[in-house]
Symmetry: C2
Subunit: 108 residues, 2 copies
């Protein structure tokens, strides 16, 4: 179940991944779930948020640039990213951003 990520006090980092999918599942759902579980085990992982309708947006939060780099170099993740280019995505954009400030609201 997707929720708002419970991230610590800034600063920390966000990897914003925005994508347009190709038609059909082509093994995407299974791999996506696998990557979510694997990412959560990485050192420096802080949380993830994801939503999709016409486009998909997945934001993963990380302690620092070092933990983002380590996750990018993870072998299983690298294979998944290659499948992303060949099978699942028509186009995507990845943005690495430093969260400087955050605030929230919750109804009582």
């Amino acid at each position: 179940m997707q929720m708002i990520a419970q991230t610590p006090k800034p600063p920390y980092y966000a990897v914003i991944f925005t994508s347009e999918r190709t038609d059909g599942d082509n093994g995407y759902s299974k791999m996506s779930e696998k990557m979510m579980i694997l990412a959560a085990k990485q050192d420096g992982y802080l949380g993830v948020e994801s939503a999709r309708d016409a486009i998909g947006i997945t934001i993963s939060y990380w302690r620092d640039l070092e933990s983002i780099k380590n996750w990018k170099e993870n072998v299983e993740h690298t294979i998944a990213r290659q499948k992303g280019r060949s099978e699942w995505y028509k186009s995507f954009k990845t943005r690495i951003a430093k969260v400087e400030k955050d605030y929230g609201f919750e109804k009582e």
Copy 2:
């Protein structure tokens, strides 16, 4: 139609707004559309990306912190944000982040 935003070369800023909606529309869709149009007219606006399923994620991109501040202080936007707290959102989180790096992919 939601698309991947065509943002300039970093650095620039992202306002990441993640939310859980209350039940029903309650005037949300009309106001949301109005705010998208109004935001796009602001100085420093660079684009927006949005998707919703279990949670909603809307990311607006801005030239600098000054343009984010001006948009936050816009009177119509301030009224819409108040309605957000009273009517449309169970909870939300806003994160202000500096995009340091980006890269993309597009199928030929």
